[in-house]
Structures are given as structure tokens and as C-alpha cells.
Subunit: 220 residues, 2 copies
DNA sequence: CTAATTTTTTAGACTAGCCTAAAAATATTT
DNA sequence: AAATATTTTTAGGCTAGTCTAAAAAATTAG
């Protein structure tokens, strides 16, 4: 139905729209899909003709419902494949993204539904991101940043903000994986780093750079 | 490394070479990859420059070792994915080909090896075709055509010659699936159709068109 | 509220892969 | 061996997606 390139543009614009509000500018898209602004202008015109987004010269771009639907479907496929790669094939969570980036463009509705069932209808991918349902609904998680916890509070690691391999590998190395419990024992007012207990026993030290990129489900 | 299109050309030429001998002509390739002869000439020049095949004008084409390697790797991926789709996701054997046609071009050696392990290092795909090993070796099966069996002889259904959806669906409908035992009770000298017993009990009638497209492992 | 800077768009060109129509080579008949 | 038919290649052109360089619009600064 839509080309790999078109799907990538839509997915990127969708994500930017979630972060930055409604109108998305050319440079941001160029950055997201790894091309030059001139190429984005071309593609955006094409997507506009196909009614996947609305475009006004020099103003920016906004997905239509049709465009959003394609974006969310692509996101759903991406996250299902990531889950498959991690849960079934045993890939580490930093390795799944690049492969899922290819797999998300395989065309077959039956495949997506069968994969979903095979995985047990997972609600979140290996990075803690919610997997859109067949209907396109994304269940918003009530996860918060680890950095907002105060001394004495605790939570369960439930997702990440930064998805880079470098960051994910750092977390892996320090056993900071999904599902682990963290209890804050101290917050430095100098550099905002945190001292904490992992699983209630192991003492660890977390830089601000780290804690502001981890999402947790707060425990009472 | 190589584009989807290049891989498809190489895979097609490889299969033709196995059937027709060494030199493959332009029209046969055009047929296999679903384009026109003129397009094949273009692509064949390109593949020749990349040392994936040797090409002599008006003479035809022959894969180099390098080209064969790419073709076999693609075949390996195709058959592993078909096995995944059938054995794990529960696709019928006539539905797996088209999806595997897309999945075979996903680039990641690690993925192929992990998938292979996940599937338990299968030797054959859902159509009974052998899956090339990591080393590129294809274990030749000693399957024979069901049509060569004589009255009283029996065998286990182990593969198909014709891979079309139509034929596979026909077999499925008549419970002629991989692993079933067939015992020949009569061969008509008029139309070469066969009367047989399925799993030693159910009486069935098989047209010559069917029996010459089924591969079996002969039983003593 | 002009001037300088940044962002975006246009213009023109490139590659991969495909096409049609015509020309050239090969194969088949007679 | 010449004539006809078939196969293959060349020539020229198309689309999708990309690029650089230059022009135009919008934004920021003085």
C-alpha cells in the first residue's frame, strides 16, 4: 500500500507531533528520517496529495487521521517485532531496534495479528513503550521519570526515554533492566545524582543523565 | 549489502541453473523475476560488474561462487521464515511463500542464526524443501515422485514439486500433508491415476497431475 | 523597522529499476 | 544458403527518492 520510505516519514512525523505539538517543520523531519530538507519538501508534497497530511508552505506539516492510522500501524508492527526479537529470539534490548526498523515494513495484516497472538498480546515492548492495539488505541502508561522521585520513595523500572544503543547497553551493564525495583536513598543537591538500592539490596549510584532517562511505575 | 532486487535476480538464476543446466538465457530470467527481457539485460550487466555472475552477450549467464553464495543465503532465509510462519505462527503451507518472499531480504546475520536455533535447526521447510545450512551446504533429499511407485508400494509424503497456492490448497483439502503415509493399491493404465490408502486406512483416488507433483520417501 | 540570519523551497541533476520500440544477433525453415 | 522467425540488446524515457546550490520567505537582531 505505502512504500517503506512513506511509512518512515509518517512514523517520524507522528513521533515529532507527540513531542512538539501540532505543526512539524521541515528540518525536524529531515533530521528524523536522515535526509536533507529539500528532500523532505518533495516527499511532504507527495504525502499531502495522498491526503496523509496537511501541508502549508513555510508553515509546517500535520498528519491527517488517515496519516495517523498508517503511522500507528507501523509503530504497532515495530514494537511487536521488537518484542518478538527480545522475548523469543533472545536479542538484547539495544539490538532489537535496527532489525525491527526493517521488519515493520513487511506487508501482511494476517502476519501482524498472528504475531500479536503468538506473543500473547503484549502491552509493552522491551523498552517499556506501549504497543498500539489492533484498533489503533495506545494505552497511555502512567510511568514517571525516575528523576522526580524523592528520598525514600521507590518504583519499578518500566521504560526508557532515550532509546540509543549506548544508553541501553549502559543500563544492561548495570543491571538496570525492566521490572527491577529501585529505592532512592539519597539525592545529591550538587549534581542531582541519586544513591539508590536495586531490588532492595544492592547499593548503586545513578547520575542525573541516567535517572532522567528512566521511566518507573511509582510504588506506594 | 545487496538490494532486494539483486537478491531476487540471484535467487531466480540459481534455481534456473539447478533445473536447466549452466547457461541461463535472458527470457527465462525475465519470466522468473517478472520483468521484461530489456530490464534483465540491464541488471545482468550490473551483477556482472559486481562479479556475482559471468555474462556474455547473447550467450546467457552463469553465477559465480560469490553469486551462488548470496543466492543460497537468500534461499536459506526464505525457507527458515517459511518454517517459522508455518510451525510457530500457524500459517497454512500455501500462505507462507508470499510473506517469506518479503522476510528473506531482512539484513541481519544474527537474526538468521537466532531464528534457525529458535526453530530447532530444521532440515526442511513446510513444503519439504531442504534448508541450506549456515555453511551453505544443501543436504540433498532422496525423495522420489509418488508417480513412480508401483502397486503395493508405500511411502511418506515428504515434499512437493509444484509450489502454487492452488495445488497446496488442493492437497490440504484432501489431507495430503507432509508426514502422511500413502500405500498404492492400484495404478490405472488408462489415465495413470492411482488408488491408494492414506495412513493405511482411508481409500483415496489420485490423478496423475497430483501424483507427479508429490515427493515421497519410499518405505521398504 | 530595516538588516542580517535562518529556514524553507525551487531548480536541476543523479541513481536504481523499470518500460517500449527499434536494431542487431542468433536460430530455424525451406 | 537465403529467408524467416525468435531472442537479445540498445536507445531513450519514465518514476521514486535523493542531492547540491541558489532563490525566496520568515524570523531575529540591532
Amino acid at each position: 500500500m505505502y512504500s517503506t520510505t512513506e511509512e518512515n516519514y509518517l512514523k517520524t512525523i507522528y513521533k515529532l507531533q507527540a513531542q512538539l505539538g501540532t505543526f512539524i517543520n521541515t528540518n525536524a523531519i529531515a533530521d528524523g528520517v536522515n535526509t536533507k530538507a529539500a528532500s523532505v519538501t518533495d516527499m511532504v508534497k507527495k504525502l499531502s496529495e495522498k491526503k496523509l497530511l496537511s501541508y502549508e508552505k513555510y508553515k509546517g506539516v500535520q498528519l491527517t487521521e488517515k496519516g495517523k492510522k498508517v503511522a500507528v500501524e507501523t509503530l504497532r508492527k515495530h514494537r511487536l517485532w521488537e518484542t518478538f526479537l527480545h522475548n523469543q529470539l533472545g536479542f538484547t534490548w539495544d539490538a532489537v531496534h535496527d532489525i525491527a526498523e526493517q521488519l515493520e515494513h513487511i506487508q501482511s495484516n494476517e502476519l501482524v495479528e498472528k504475531l500479536d497472538a503468538f506473543l500473547g498480546f503484549p502491552s509493552h515492548d522491551p523498552h517499556g513503550d506501549p504497543i498500539p492495539g489492533r484498533n489503533g488505541v495506545i494505552k497511555e502508561s502512567n510511568f514517571i521519570l525516575l528523576s522526580v522521585l524523592k528520598k525514600g520513595e521507590k518504583g519499578i523500572i518500566s521504560g526508557v526515554v532515550n532509546h540509543s544503543s549506548l544508553f541501553l547497553q549502559h543500563l544492561e551493564k548495570n543491571k538496570l533492566t525492566l521490572g527491577k525495583t529501585i529505592t532512592i536513598t539519597e539525592v545529591s543537591s550538587f549534581d542531582l545524582s541519586m544513591a539508590a538500592l536495586l531490588e532492595g539490596k544492592e547499593k548503586i549510584q545513578l547520575s542525573n543523565e541516567v535517572v532522567k532517562n528512566i521511566l518507573i511505575k511509582k510504588l506506594a
